[in-house]
Symmetry: C2
Subunit: 341 residues, 2 copies
């Protein structure tokens, strides 16, 4: 029997379509892709080509003049830090001059290894760079929201192959984020608790949707997952904004994020994928009603007219089956390869 599930947080309904149900294996695309080389002479993100990018805003140094992670302004930035966010309103047409920051985080010097194949320590360096840039840009009083995200693969929007992440800082809080903050606030006012803390506690007890758990984080399939294998990683400690993550938590998150990505890489055969850090805006740092998380979204299906026309999604994979599938995936080979270099 099909089922409608409501997300506890966005309040959006999802159709879990059991009549069209697919086993997780059926979503694998089985693309034969040649693994890319470790170094590409024309790649602007490969070592030695640092002059092909704008001057870096952050470098995590390695031995000598080498680096582990670089952060640079996006050469084809969607927003410009050179203009001021002047507003105008004419009839119902509201505009702001395109002020903002658009940065690229180069995940490692190695062109060939996606994040699933990096060492936990390298991923921690990347997360550290996220945090430094998040904290630094949050200080700009013109910035109200920062989105950190990764596009892996062409279908996920990646235009350059060399593994990298991105950050876009905007002078507006997205309407979608406002709605979510409002729903979370309403729950807090009604019940006197962070709805995420409540949900996390119950899901950890219940176990059926939990994929991985560590001392400080839990990765779980989403109860009302709009698409197959949408997985959220929550800090167990209440924190509204990503900027509050501690050093120990970064180390723990690096391990759980990397392990999850490796399980998806092996189990679903390296699908195109996005992940994004879903944080409250920095001004909410003390908020009791919001809880940041990392949302990992493998791009296994296409959005069609129903989704565009209603905002509701049809998901053909039971989240409980997705969790079971991911729990069983062994990532020994990926780990051995990551340790071997």
């Amino acid at each position: 029997m099909p089922e409608l599930r409501q997300d506890f947080f966005t309040k959006e309904w999802v159709i879990i379509a059991t009549e069209r149900a697919k086993r997780p294996e059926e979503l694998v695309t089985h693309r034969q892709v040649q693994p890319p080389p470790a170094f590409v002479e024309t790649c602007p993100f490969c070592p030695g080509n640092e002059n092909k990018t704008p001057p870096e805003v952050l470098r995590v140094p390695a031995k000598g003049d080498q680096w582990k992670v670089r952060v640079i302004p996006n050469k084809f930035a969607a927003l410009s830090s050179e203009v001021q966010p002047a507003r105008s309103l004419q009839h119902l047409r509201r505009r702001i001059d395109g002020f903002g920051f658009h940065e690229v985080i180069v995940d490692s010097p190695d062109h060939s290894r996606c994040m699933a194949q990096l060492s936990d320590e390298q991923v921690a360096s990347v997360l550290n760079a996220y945090k430094q840039r998040y904290s630094s840009l949050s200080l700009d009083h013109r910035i109200t929201h920062i989105t950190i995200f990764k596009n892996h693969g062409v279908d996920a929007g990646a235009s350059l192959q060399h593994p990298h992440s991105q950050l876009i800082a905007t002078p507006v809080i997205p309407s979608q984020v406002r709605h979510r903050l409002f729903e979370a606030l309403r729950h807090y006012d009604d019940v006197g608790e962070c709805m995420f803390c409540h949900m996390i506690e119950r899901e950890v007890e219940d176990e059926t949707r939990v994929v991985l758990k560590s001392e400080r984080f839990v990765a779980m399939e989403v109860f009302a997952s709009p698409t197959p294998f949408a997985t959220h990683i929550f800090p167990l400690r209440h924190m509204a904004t990503f900027g509050d993550i501690s050093e120990m938590e970064i180390i723990d998150l690096a391990r759980i994020l990397r392990t999850l990505l490796a399980k998806i890489y092996v189990g679903l055969e390296n699908p195109d994928l996005n992940f994004t850090v879903r944080s409250a805006p920095a001004e909410y740092t003390q908020a009791r009603h919001f809880h940041w998380y990392v949302s990992v979204i493998p791009r296994l299906t296409r959005v069609a007219g129903f989704e565009l026309g209603s905002g509701m999604f049809i998901n053909t994979v039971l989240p409980e089956e997705a969790a079971d599938f991911l729990r069983r995936v062994s990532i020994e080979k990926v780990n051995a390869a990551a340790a071997g270099r």
Copy 2:
């Protein structure tokens, strides 16, 4: 200079990224696709194969035992009309048994001709079928929202080639729709007018984003368009729900919708595409604050991590340029072919 634009209705911000700007022609994919045959023996929607589908719920008859349009239950329905919408809530996990209707509207007996290539009269028959099913299903007190949509092409979610539309009727109002109704209501309460009527009047005066205008409808590029060439067709008369469309309006809408689709078909070389009827739920039929429309969305770009992580979109085509481009496209050849059969 890039620009942030806020949609007057959803309140969502869009980045119009002029640094990454593309001319409309650059979005054409230039796929060489063999035109499909007019009849396919194995196609369940082709004439003669009526027994391969569930029994039809509506038929627009043609000569003899032929038909112009058929409406049938979806064989792989996302929801089932056989169950009752029983609700349950456990902790924060809210579910409803998967009650609903999922129907297919076969646009014409001809396997080869997409809606852009049909006659205006045939499209009017399809819209009439939409209206009949919309009105009929609205009478079911368990149904609260109906989404009518079309998927054209694989990237737009179409799994069968024979041109068809779909309808999904749900026992819930999507959260996204609720938010939009609320924003429109707030405008009505503040200003005492339908925000759509206001916007339509100004856009028609302004002309820069208008693609087509008829006696009863206007097709325009969206001021804060999240993706290139997102085009809305509004009735000029205030109407909250699609079910209130008159016979004359159906004839007029058929012409303007078909003309718009033909312009996209010719100008952008038959891109994958969705369209959807955005109506208030039937219970809002008398509402003064909402205004239904048809949203046409060519699928020319990929959604990436920023969009998934913030709800904001980056659009690389200026809506004003898209409107100018579509206005200039000649559809004489398509019209001649449509009239010739």
